[in-house]
Subunit: 302 residues, 2 copies
């Protein structure tokens, strides 16, 4: 089945204690699409400027990602500049230039409208809702958001949440959205806004999935070399949605497997700057790391 | 098999956002013994003052804990006062009165010397080493420590670590001890000091166990009501060592089960102030919660 993603494509400049990368390929939709492309047919919707080079399009093409919905507009591509300390858990944003992304109004090509799986990456919740009006009958809709929208467009966000099946969000944002600290209470509150499933990303601590009845806890893989956490959350979402789209069945078992595949894709992504690890990664390595997660977490019953 | 623990017995005064408790039963050896008492025969070594009431001894007795090694000395019992914020992850110490604990020199009763399992709770590493000289041929020795000793008695601590099989320690302390930030590097470094196994406790994020070859990640159970995290780490260690002592076999499978039992005991402990949850807890509830951890973490292979 095919998977539609709407989000950003950007040039990132990132500094970590382990090195620096300037104006490299980034953006939520880019990370998401690339991670998902190992599992399913991805249809990308985003906007870039005139400065977006052919080589990046060739990368997307090589990954089999459809980019008919990647609009090219007069002006410069979205730029983000950030820095991480040793903890690598939260970026300090040094500069944001929205450029062509500022007036982004997602418009789905006709061939995208029957996508079965939809991921609304972190954009204005009003635009997220507008995208949902353009798709026909998606089987599953998931979205992400961030503190900027939680604080600034809460009502629109709550409205969007009423229309999605799954919210994928980090712990700090989940707490802000729910206005609660305890994560069990956070989950109750957020599920009451509409989503049937809440996934809370906790960086190096892994992810939690709540469905109102049960909880699933997936650890992150302890890695010796983490170079750049940029895009880890979007890679997680890409692996998660990509696997569900490949599998086709949505139940507790496939959702849990999808969380693990999400964790696998995030773990690869942080091993290099930008999407560099994805340039050589193959599906065999992905499945081998899925097995590593199995060995990381398994214990005998009593 | 029997399990010896050497540590502190104290009166704690604790304030959390959910309430307050004054001069309640606490101390590393108390939490450890109580948690372990659900699994095995525990022999406690600690010191209290003349103000230690009979009711607390009755509690230990009721839990089947041997306290021939609980020395009663002239003076007051160790007192600790601390406060937690909403994050509940780290206590702010408001007051410490060592009292009789200051001159504590553990002396094992003759009947304790053939204990098969030994846990050296957080005390001066020189005293930990001295305890090891008093036991005959323990099958397994584990210890805990804290930043105070890591900073102040590093050489003695490294010497102690050369004599123990397992170190159980929290993440901040592990990083301080290894002088590394990345936990995989931390584990390599600490295992090079002597222990065959390192368990890193991460509070609400669970625990990691390293043996130099494989890693095991256990989550913490997401709880809706966490009242008081005091003693969670010692309850973890008590469940961990208690189960190993009950099981008798030490291998990767039993160690992983022990980490889960440790997590189970910690999860109960934080549900009430002091040892209050342990006053009503029974083994059936413990085993049911072990199953909850199974359901929390399980996912299908691919």
């Amino acid at each position: 089945m095919s998977l539609l993603v709407v989000g950003s494509v950007a040039f990132d400049s990132v500094k970590t204690p382990f090195g620096e990368a300037k104006e490299v390929l980034g953006g939520s939709a880019t990370y998401f699409s690339t991670a998902a492309s190992y599992f399913t047919q991805v249809k990308l919707v985003a906007v870039v400027g005139e400065d977006f080079p052919e080589t990046h399009l060739e990368f997307l093409k090589k990954r089999g990602i459809e980019f008919e919905g990647l609009e090219r507009r007069p002006g410069r591509t979205f730029r983000w500049k950030g820095e991480y300390g040793y903890q690598l858990n939260e970026a300090k944003t040094l500069d944001t230039q929205l450029n062509v992304f500022e007036s982004f109004r997602p418009k789905l090509p006709e061939t995208y409208r029957d996508a079965s799986f939809v991921f609304l990456a972190n954009i204005d919740p009003e635009l997220q809702l507008d995208v949902l009006k353009q798709v026909k009958r998606p089987k599953l809709v998931a979205c992400d958001t961030m503190n900027f929208w939680i604080g600034g467009k809460r009502d629109a966000l709550i409205k969007t949440l009423g229309e999605v099946d799954i919210l994928v969000i980090n712990d700090g944002e989940a707490r802000e959205l729910a206005q609660e600290f305890n994560l069990v209470k956070v989950a109750k509150k957020i599920l009451s806004f509409g989503p049937k499933i809440l996934i809370i990303k906790r960086g190096e601590y892994g992810a939690l999935m709540f469905n109102g009845q049960t909880v699933f806890a997936a650890p992150a893989l302890p890695l010796e070399n983490v170079f750049d956490p940029t895009g880890a959350g979007d890679s997680f979402a890409g692996g998660f949605m990509g696997y569900l789209s490949q599998n086709g069945t949505i139940n507790e078992a496939s959702l849990r497997q999808a969380v693990i595949y999400g964790s696998v894709m995030a773990s690869f992504n942080v091993e290099a700057f930008s999407l560099d690890r994805m340039r050589t990664l193959n599906r065999e390595e992905i499945d081998a790391r899925y097995q590593e997660f199995k060995s990381l977490t398994s214990f005998e019953s009593i």
